[in-house]
């Protein structure tokens, strides 16, 4: 009688362990790498016994990379700051533009609404490289190349469709009658949007914002082409570690740890928020 549950428990435990190992191992390995020197990293066979060092982090934070060929100036902290600035501003702008638009697509039926929504989604279909070349030319002519404003604008290609489609779904899930009830009690359209629709779609807006932030953060190709060194985010900045005297694995690892830290923390925090938002939704009959 009790044998089956025990076996089941063991099997389930093993499966979960395997999954965790699969997903967590790279992160753990990167963290270990980030506190080693290039020599210990490249040891054969690899070993987990080593003297930890923080010189990789030190090099990143001070901006001086010691290599066999001499000292190299890198600007990793600047890249990190650029990532933060670009992602945050893009998501903020995306929310300001996308949330009211999502509401309109969810609630108002107007001519061509589906077509417009689909067009916006289709921005995600085309590979970014396809639009990059014409964009580069336009941006140079408009003076937008290598500006934060220009990058934030281009980032809307990533952020806006995502926000629009996720938030639209959340708005559609709110029973229209809740808004009607508010409106019939003497409130206008805007008050209803602000006081009822926005709070009820809150978890969805947060989730969309988070996802958009991660996508924006991870973007590589737009910034690579459209921005020069001082405007580039970490994804592009990490290329600096591929130096003439070899790849600086330790610094690359430390750079990765630093660059995934914000999104990692955000995801951990919002994961709880997401679950809460989905289970405590407005739609309990």
């Amino acid at each position: 009688m009790h044998a089956t549950p025990t076996i089941e428990r063991i099997l389930r435990g093993t499966a979960i362990a395997l999954v965790c190992l699969f997903f967590m191992f790279p992160i753990a390995w990167i963290m270990l790498m980030s506190i080693q020197t290039n020599e210990t990293i490249l040891r054969v066979p690899p070993s987990v016994v080593f003297a930890p060092t923080f010189e990789n982090y030190q090099a990143l934070i001070t901006g001086k990379l010691e290599t066999a060929a001499g000292t190299l100036e890198i600007n990793f902290m600047r890249n990190l700051w650029n990532s933060l600035l670009l992602s945050t501003s893009s998501v903020a702008l995306g929310l300001v533009l996308g949330v009211p638009a999502a509401y309109a697509f969810a609630r108002l039926k107007f001519r061509g609404s589906e077509d417009i929504a689909f067009t916006l989604l289709s921005f995600r279909f085309a590979p970014p490289l396809l639009v990059l070349l014409p964009l580069t030319i336009y941006f140079q002519q408009l003076g937008l190349a290598n500006t934060y404003g220009g990058l934030i604008w281009v980032y809307q290609l990533i952020v806006l469709p995502l926000i629009l489609w996720i938030v639209r779904g959340y708005f559609e899930d709110i029973p229209a009658d809740i808004e009607y009830a508010y409106r019939i009690a003497g409130h206008g359209f805007w008050a209803t949007f602000r006081r009822i629709a926005l709070p009820l779609a809150g978890p969805g807006i947060a989730a969309a914002g988070l996802l958009a932030f991660i996508f924006a953060w991870n973007n590589f190709v737009f910034a690579l082409v459209l921005a020069s060194a001082d405007k580039q985010p970490v994804t592009v900045g990490a290329l600096a570690f591929v130096t003439a005297s070899g790849i600086q694995y330790g610094q690359v690892a430390a750079g990765i740890v630093l660059s995934i830290a914000p999104t990692f923390a955000l995801a951990l925090y919002a994961q709880r928020y997401l679950v809460e938002g989905l289970s405590l939704g407005a739609v309990k009959g």
């Binding site: 009658d177 009830a181 409106r183 019939i184 003497g186 206008g188 309990k284």
Partner: protein, 375 residues
């Protein structure tokens, strides 16, 4: 006479393009006087909720006009119409407590705190939700949410109160209790209310007048008693009343100084010419092909009459429902005592001329009710 509180003039509702989309409400005209309680009664999809939502302003009126409290409102935003509504899906604000949900409109109107508390207390007590006032909508049952939603609508001072299936989720005892209280509450304050329901008991108990709808068409708009006694057409006749009216196709003829109503299966109901007033008789004979209707309560077992064979005999604790094969169909009788009738037992049934409803077979319109002409 003063201006009616609500007047609908030939209101149409199309979902989709006008004249092409789904025609949900067809040229409905009706008036509601101040202080009246009206029930919109019909089965699902009959257009009653669409009508209500057009009055509230959530659905655009495709054609026609709506006057409310002397103003033409069909193009006004809901907020400007001064109506209160209890929603079928409750639609409570999930982020605030039941108490705040109910008090919402009063607070928005900047009523004094003490007055708000007093009125919320009164309406909560009336609807038996005093103990859940501080809970949140997601933590209470459907029936409680429904009462909270009803309270939120009833507490307001509006020109018109719209109640969409306000008691559908309540258990029967509570429903019976609250019906009386709600009616008293509405009448005491002189409110005007439109109630949408598919429950004819509720419509009968609450409403001063009932608007029976089917297929988007207003079939009859009259008092509960009038609808029961003088149904305007076959639909109303068979829709309202429990168990439903017995109906049989028939043809009417005069022979040998008597009036013959020939039913299917060779059955012939014979009446004296004097049983019907002359105008009624003329109309009956002129129509020839008719449908006769008789309420189950009015069918009697008698020593002489038409033969029928019992197929089911059910004692419901306070009345018997007897179903019998009759005239190629089935007839249902209601008796107040337990009847000792086994399946297959032969009985003879009699239908008094005054209990006979006649409808035109082609149009379904009522011809006569007993001695009186219809219409």
């Amino acid at each position: 006479m003063s201006e009616a509180m609500l007047r609908l003039d030939a209101v149409d509702k199309f979902y989709g393009p006008i004249d092409e989309g789904v025609h949900a409400v067809r040229a409905v005209s009706m008036t509601v006087e101040k202080g009246e309680i009206i029930a919109l009664l019909g089965s699902s999809g009959c257009g009653k909720t669409s009508t209500l939502r057009m009055v509230a302003g959530f659905e655009a009126v495709s054609r026609g006009r709506i006057h409310l409290a002397g103003r033409e409102v069909q193009s006004l935003a809901p907020v400007r119409r001064n109506v209160a509504m209890a929603f079928e899906g409750y639609s409570l604000y999930p982020t605030v407590s039941v108490r705040d949900n109910i008090a919402f409109a009063l607070k928005a109107a900047r009523l004094a705190e003490a007055e708000v508390a007093r009125r919320v207390g009164a309406v909560a007590e009336m609807l038996e939700i005093t103990d859940i006032l501080d809970r949140f909508p997601h933590s209470i049952s459907g029936g409680q949410q429904q009462r909270a939603s009803l309270a939120r609508a009833l507490i307001r001072k509006a020109d018109l109160h719209l109640l969409d299936e306000p008691m559908g989720q309540l258990e029967p005892q509570l429903r019976t209790l609250l019906r009386g209280r709600i009616k008293h509450f509405i009448k005491e304050r002189g409110l005007t209310a439109i109630l949408v329901t598919h429950d004819q008991t509720e419509a009968n108990a609450l409403a001063d007048r009932i608007a029976v709808m089917e297929g988007g068409v207003l079939q009859q708009y009259a008092s509960p008693a009038e609808i029961k006694e003088r149904p305007a057409n076959l639909f109303t006749g068979t829709f309202v009343g429990e168990p439903p009216m017995n109906v049989f196709p028939a043809s009417v003829a005069e022979a040998g100084g008597r009036l013959h109503i020939d039913l299917q299966g060779g059955l012939d109901l014979v009446y004296d010419l004097a049983d019907f007033a002359a105008p009624v008789r003329e109309r009956m004979l002129a129509a020839r092909d008719v449908v006769i209707g008789v309420r189950p309560h009015a069918v009697r077992r008698a020593a002489t009459g038409a033969p029928a064979t019992v197929v089911a005999n059910q004692w419901l604790g306070d009345q018997s429902h007897i179903a019998a094969r009759f005239a190629g169909g089935a007839i249902v009788l209601v008796e107040h005592d337990r009847a000792a009738l086994a399946e297959g037992a032969p009985i003879t049934v009699a239908i008094r001329p005054e209990d006979l409803h006649l409808f035109d077979a082609a149009t379904g319109q009522a011809i006569s009710h007993g001695q009186a002409l219809a219409g």
